[in-house]
């Protein structure tokens, strides 16, 4: 069932009472959503909180879920809105105060998962993390979405609620800055 069933069908199955369908859906998307939130918020505690809220919203929306678009677009729309709501409500200073945390989390977990590669990748990790942090929010978000989901430009535009040209332009700026930054290393 894992690989054959589409996300949309899994969500419909969950809505009709199949808890196992949700487990598959969660396993497919949890890492990407978590990294998206963590890189956006740059604070582990807040990222965990928003991550949890996104999934709770999905659970609560099960009865009204209809396949109108790709499930990934739907899920990341929830995540994007959750992040925007948080960003509006919270004092930005709190997020910035904790900005060092994300580096620790990524490095700590990288070393746990791939201890042998840690030495090689440490430098790139640090540089890319710095460059990502230096991007404007909109550019960072579209880059993260693209990397975590592989969405096309039209899907990115739909998820973020912007037009096609704006999505293209944001992504173009983001990758240009990141590439230049990595090449100047």
């Amino acid at each position: 069932m894992d690989n054959d069933v589409s996300d949309e069908n899994l969500m419909m199955s969950y809505a009709s009472g199949d808890a196992a369908a949700f487990e598959i859906l969660y396993a497919r998307h949890k890492g990407a959503i978590y990294r998206y939130m963590l890189n956006l918020c740059r604070n582990e505690a807040i990222a965990e909180e928003l991550f949890q809220e996104v999934w709770m919203k999905l659970i609560n929306a099960r009865e009204n879920y209809q396949v109108k678009a790709k499930f990934t677009t739907y899920l990341y729309k929830l995540a994007h809105n959750q992040y925007i709501d948080h960003y509006r409500k919270q004092n930005v200073r709190i997020v910035e105060d904790q900005s060092v945390e994300i580096d620790d989390v990524i490095q700590e977990q990288s070393s746990k998962n791939n201890p042998e590669k840690q030495a090689q990748t440490n430098q790139t990790i640090n540089r890319l993390t710095e460059l990502l942090a230096s991007l404007p929010n909109e550019q960072r978000e579209i880059f993260l979405l693209r990397e975590e989901t592989g969405m096309s430009i039209p899907d990115l535009a739909e998820t973020l609620g912007i037009n096609h040209e704006a999505a293209k332009s944001r992504l173009r700026y983001a990758i240009s800055k990141l590439r230049t930054g990595l090449n100047n290393e």
């Binding site: 009472g17 890492g31 978590y34 990294r35 919270q90 096309s152 990141l178």
Partner: protein, 326 residues
């Protein structure tokens, strides 16, 4: 223009999906949510489905419809009967009084009519007399009805008074209970002062409490601990008054202070829980924000279903966490 073309080419290359940038990003980002978070979300998903199934089972049960109808009918009938019993006397007495008074007035009016008819008056006179009589009846009937209504209202007032007299002892009992609760709360506070003389009893969740005052009082307690620190040396801090930092969440299953994967259950002081306005203020103000919380670290307090490893009880103060303050 050339720069834009270059950027477009860069974008198109990137969109093919196997750029160096993508490789670098994937190599540097392999983080996953904690196991605890996974369990929490999956268990919420399962619980929701189970509760849906229970609801559906109940609604689909064959006995639900007839029992519901029977219950509605029984309730309606008993309500009507009760209302009739309660209002029956008044309803009957009201028209009786009205009929009696109206009849008396009409009889009084009809007496001169019979005398005059025997005197063989002209038709014109009779018509004039009839018109006069009608006018008097028109005036008298409302007066009679007014008298009946007054009588009815008097009875109603007396009934109300009797009901009030019946309720009075119950009201007095409620008042007594309320007084007792206030006395108990006062006693608790005095007890707390005696047992913990070092605790600054002035810090309470009071909506009028000044933020600066809170900061000053919280700074009288030595250091701000992380949840990690507390849990590492849990036996050292057990029963001690502490100030802990973390993101505060007011949740249905219980309040929680979190930092990364570390978490503590949070129980607010009695005085706040009873003060719904203050509680609501704190909830709106601090839910989901990074704060410092002052209370008693308690290894035994594990919250709803023992979901937390330990907890902070009798929380008497919350202020936003700001590195600059410390």
């Amino acid at each position: 223009m050339a720069n834009k073309d270059q950027n477009d080419k860069e974008l198109n290359d990137y969109l093919k999906g196997d750029s160096d940038l993508s490789k670098a990003y994937r190599a540097s980002n392999k983080v996953e949510p904690s196991v605890h978070l996974d369990e929490k979300i999956l268990s919420a998903a399962k619980d929701t489905i189970n509760s849906d199934k229970q609801k559906t089972k109940f609604h689909k049960a064959p006995w639900v419809k007839p029992v519901s109808i029977a219950a509605i009918v029984t309730l309606s009938v008993s309500l009507v009967v009760t209302m009739q019993q309660e209002t029956g006397q008044s309803i009957i007495s009201e028209p009786e009084v009205e009929m009696y008074d109206s009849a008396a007035v009409i009889e009084e009016i009809s007496l001169p009519e019979s005398k005059q008819s025997s005197d063989d008056e002209t038709v014109i006179n009779e018509i004039e007399l009839k018109q006069k009589k009608d006018a008097r009846v028109d005036a008298a009937v409302p007066a009679a009805l007014g008298a009946a209504t007054d009588l009815y209202r008097t009875e109603e007032k007396a009934e109300l008074e009797r009901a009030r007299m019946k309720q009075a002892p119950a009201k007095r009992m409620l008042m007594k209970e309320k007084e007792q609760m206030q006395a108990d709360a006062l006693e608790e506070r005095v007890f707390a002062d005696e047992v913990m003389p070092s605790a600054p009893t002035g810090i309470e969740f009071d909506s009028v409490m000044d933020m600066e005052q809170e900061k000053q009082q919280i700074s009288t307690i030595s250091e701000v601990l992380s949840i990690d620190d507390l849990l590492k040396e849990s036996s050292k801090y057990d029963g001690e008054e502490v100030v802990v930092k973390g993101v505060l969440h007011f949740e249905f299953e219980g309040n929680e202070l979190r930092s990364g994967s570390y978490k503590l259950a949070v129980s607010l002081a009695e005085s706040v829980r009873k003060n719904t306005e203050a509680y609501s203020n704190y909830k709106n103000k601090y839910n989901g924000t990074l704060v410092k919380v002052k209370g008693i670290f308690n290894l035994e307090f594990k919250g709803h279903r023992g979901m937390w490893p330990a907890g902070i009880t009798d929380v008497t103060s919350i202020i936003p966490y700001n590195n600059k303050v410390n």
